[in-house]
């Protein structure tokens, strides 16, 4: 017993399209017609006379049977065409089986038909063989001889009656006729004149008012006296002899009379005569119809043979399908299993292939169970892996896992983003290959290489990475992993990018310094300036000419330095002040052109070039602060070119409306940034100019960041500095950037190193 649960029939066979009731009815009707045809044909073979009566039913049955068989064959072929649209293996097997069946049976059928046709022709020919003809004609002659004897006897009796009648007087004729009829055993005796009128009569059937009178033809025949006796088919079943003779008379003036006597023919003679008659008629009829009869029988034979062939083809198709069906089902199930469907089961009841199907079902059941278990394990592992990846992906820290051979096995998204690693290329490389592939990360991977043979205790190390556009500081923790399958005793590196955090702390410290400086220095500056000016006023008139000039120079120096200190304090104040932006919509290109125009002509040896995108969309920003940025950047560039002939400053404005950014690019062909400047340019009090405060780029960076943008420094390849300022053009983009900036210390939002 199969214990694998529900068994489902399997097969590629489409649902049978023929109406379920039509096919059995058609089959039954066809088989009945063929059976009846054979029965009727067998009957006509035993009794050829039946052929004439059964020819039409036979024809109808043959036509119906042929049509039915052709329909069944057509249905089978159509059905097979649907099952095997691409002539699959099952189709070839069915074709071979049908061909074999038909071939095996067709040859005997053809031979039998040929033999039967010859037999029919010879049989029919034998019906007309000379001995048969002689027998038939002899029988007719014998029968005629017997009839002639009867006719002669009855004619003799009638003549005797006529002579006796001629001896009697006319009044005695009726009585005499009765006696003579009774003595002669005649049925009717009638005395007539030459016009056919009855003179006297007597009959064995007294209830007849008038006996049947001789016909005009009979009277005419009697008048000829040579054919005055005939055997006629009576009105009943018996033959009768009708004899008509003239009544002799000696009176030449007497009217001529004739006597008609009707004698019965014995039943035996009648039957014999009729049988001979029928046999002869049948024989003559067959003689006449010999050729059509022969062809009719042969044609019928051919039709029956055709019926047999068609029935054979139908049966062959049917049984071939029945035989092939289990194999086909098995092939279909194997194909389904090969395609990965393990829910298939084969019907095992009432089938010779049951012993093969049951183990197949058990095997597929076990496979299905194993696959289901494996699938559950795989799904569980997949879930755990997905969970781990999700956790790793959302970690702010980068995670790298190395195996025992220091081959990178895993790098989470934060690690890939922070280090600029490629999952396909870098995962699978060992540390040496990683160092070679990423020279900018040399320090990082060198440290990892150094720390990897770590003990179980966590080792923490700060690493400075400077290979990218920004200098970054990461803190890495290296931990040894327990021995894992496929990894061995590997190690995990967890690191965090502290650059933004440190910068934020740095900016905050500088802001506090600037605020304190502004507060502590600005307050005494005004009294110093006022005191210096009062001293000058008080003592100017009391001093000599020389001292007066000295005093004036000293006061002016104090005032100038105080003003310089006030400018510095104001700059520190600007740097330290809280953001208070007033956003308006303005044209950045127009603002850039306006600022550029202010500086054109001031420096004859420096050319200021603008490359402004047109048409320029309006951006949403604090126009005054952006103007300040433009002044800072342009002034920095001009001051860098101060001692250089043929200096050139390029101001370029571009828009990326897809990203929602506007980019302001300031380039010069001066000496460019030194490496130290590139690293610390945005830090306050960092300047390469002898008189600079070192706050210009710091304030610029601060203003741009307050707008949600960012500033990038670089050197041009052909020489000179390049400062790129990227600004969001609308409130939505700005809000997104500010939101990101609020979490800048988060590694997932950090730039690649």
């Amino acid at each position: 017993m199969d214990t694998l649960g529900k068994l489902e029939p399997v097969g590629k066979h489409p649902t049978r399209s023929l109406k379920p009731r039509v096919l059995p009815l058609l089959t039954a009707a066809t088989l009945l017609a063929v059976f009846c045809t054979f029965v009727l044909l067998a009957s006509t073979t035993e009794n050829p006379g039946l052929f004439g009566k059964l020819d039409v039913p036979l024809l109808v049955l043959v036509v119906f049977g042929t049509t039915g068989l052709l329909s069944l064959i057509a249905v089978q072929i159509i059905h097979l065409g649907r099952i095997y649209p691409r002539r699959e293996p099952g189709w070839n097997l069915i074709r071979r089986m049908v061909r074999t069946f038909v071939g095996l049976a067709l040859i005997p059928i053809v031979l039998i038909c040929a033999f039967a046709a010859v037999f029919i022709r010879n049989s029919i020919r034998s019906w007309y063989a000379p001995p048969v003809a002689r027998v038939v004609h002899t029988a007719v002659a014998l029968s005629r001889g017997a009839i002639d004897d009867t006719l002669k006897k009855d004619l003799h009796i009638t003549r005797r009656l006529a002579r006796n009648l001629s001896l009697a007087a006319p009044p005695a004729w009726p009585f005499l006729l009765g006696r003579l009829r009774s003595q002669s055993h005649a049925l009717d005796v009638v005395l007539l004149d030459s016009n056919g009128r009855i003179v006297a009569m007597d009959s064995a059937f007294p209830f007849l008012l008038l006996p049947p009178t001789p016909s005009r033809a009979a009277l005419e025949e009697a008048a000829h006296a040579s054919t005055n006796v005939v055997l006629s088919p009576g009105q009943g079943h018996r033959y009768t002899v009708r004899a008509v003779v003239p009544v002799p008379t000696s009176d030449p003036f007497a009217r001529p009379l004739v006597l008609e006597a009707v004698f019965p023919v014995s039943g035996h003679e009648t039957r014999t005569a009729r049988q001979v008659e029928r046999a002869y008629a049948r024989y003559e009829e067959l003689t006449l119809l010999r050729r059509p009869l022969t062809w009719s029988l042969i044609l019928t034979l051919i039709l029956v043979a055709l019926l047999g062939v068609l029935a054979l083809v139908t049966s062959a198709l049917y049984f071939a399908r029945r035989i092939v069906a289990p194999v086909d089902e098995l092939v279909g199930a194997i194909g389904a299993v090969a395609e990965g469907r393990l829910d298939v089961r084969l019907e095992t009841t009432g089938d010779d292939f049951g012993p093969l199907k049951r183990p197949f079902n058990r095997m597929i059941g076990r496979l299905e169970t194993a696959q289901r278990t494996a699938e559950e394990h795989r799904q569980r592992e997949e879930r755990e892996r997905a969970l781990l990846e999700t956790v790793l992906a959302h970690l702010s820290a980068g995670v790298l896992v190395f195996d025992e051979q220091r081959v990178l096995e895993l790098a989470n998204e934060a690690a890939r983003r922070l280090l600029g690693l490629n999952r396909e290329q870098d995962v699978g490389r060992d540390v040496g290959a990683l160092r070679a592939a990423h020279p900018a990360l040399e320090d990082f991977f060198a440290t990892v290489d150094e720390l990897l043979p770590a003990s179980r205790e966590e080792i923490r190390r700060e690493i400075v990475l400077g290979g990218g556009r920004r200098r970054r500081v990461v803190v890495a923790r290296v931990t040894a992993l327990p021995e894992l399958p496929g990894i061995g005793r590997g190690g995990a590196v967890v690191f965090e990018d502290l650059t933004d955090l440190l910068e934020a702390q740095h900016d905050a410290a500088w802001g506090e310094v600037a605020r304190r400086m502004a507060h502590e220095i600005r307050n005494p500056l005004t009294p110093i300036q006022l005191t210096a000016e009062r001293i000058g006023h008080r003592f100017f008139d009391r001093l000599s000419e020389n001292d007066r000039a000295w005093l004036q120079h000293a006061v002016e120096t104090i005032v100038r330095q105080v003003e310089a200190l006030q400018n510095m304090v104001r700059a520190f104040g600007d740097y330290a002040r809280a953001p208070d932006l007033r956003f308006t919509r303005f044209d950045l290109s127009a603002l850039t052109a306006e600022v550029a125009d202010l500086y054109r002509g001031r420096y004859p040896r420096i050319e200021i070039v603008t490359d402004l995108a047109e048409p320029a969309p309006l951006i949403e920003a604090d126009e005054e602060r952006i103007r300040q940025v433009l002044h800072n950047l342009l002034r920095n560039a001009l001051e860098a070119l101060y001692a250089q002939a043929n200096g050139q400053v390029l101001l370029r404005v571009r828009y990326d409306l897809v990203q929602g950014d506007a980019e302001l690019l300031v380039e010069d062909n001066g000496p460019g940034f030194s490496p130290v400047m590139l690293e610390h340019a945005f830090e306050p009090y960092t300047t390469s100019k002898p008189r600079g405060t070192g706050l210009g780029l710091a304030i610029t960076k601060k203003i741009i960041e307050e707008h949600g943008g960012h500033t990038l420094l670089s050197n041009r390849a052909e020489g000179g500095a390049r400062i790129a300022v990227v600004l969001p053009v609308n409130e939505r983009t700005r809000a997104e950037r500010l939101r990101a900036a609020a979490h800048r210390y988060h590694p997932s939002e950090a730039e690649p190193l």
């Binding site: 052929f51 004439g52 009566k53 020819d55 039409v56 036979l58 024809l59 007719v140 029968s143 005629r144 009839i147 016909s215 033809a217 025949e221 054919t227 005939v230 055997l231 006629s232 088919p233 009105q235 033959y239 005569a273 001979v276 008659e277 002869y280 008629a281 049948r282 024989y283 003559e284 009829e285 003689t287 006449l288 119809l289 050729r291 059509p292 009869l293 062809w295 009719s296 044609l299």
Partner: protein, 155 residues
Amino acid sequence: MVVRRHGVYYLHGRLQIAPNRTVRHALLHGIPITFSLKIHIVDGHSFLFWGDTLARIDQRYRIAYHTVLGRYVVRDLETGVQTSYPTFARVIMALEHPHEIPLVDSSLLQAGGHYRLRTRITLHVDDIPHALRWLAGLWTHWESSSPWASTRLVP
């Protein structure tokens, strides 16, 4: 000739029958043949193109040769009355003289009306099995018919 007697019109005719060889051959080989005399009385004033048939008479006789008797037996298929003749010529002669065949009641005909009497005779062999007849028909003609003959009938 059509005569009126006791309110009924009778036909006394003279026909000419010429059976083909096939019919004679079949008869001599014991296959009965049927003689059919079709008589239609048609109203010539009918709005129908082919006229309105008032009466249809089909006189049918079965002729068989009895070998043992040596005689031709003619049987009226309507009445069953049989008559025998010694020769086929006598049979033909008897059939060529139809005697007192009732046609139509005189009340059905209007005096002065325009009527036509249409006749047609057919001799056919009808005792052959149907299937054989179809096949035998490939070689022989089992039926011979005369065209319709029409004559005027004045009441």
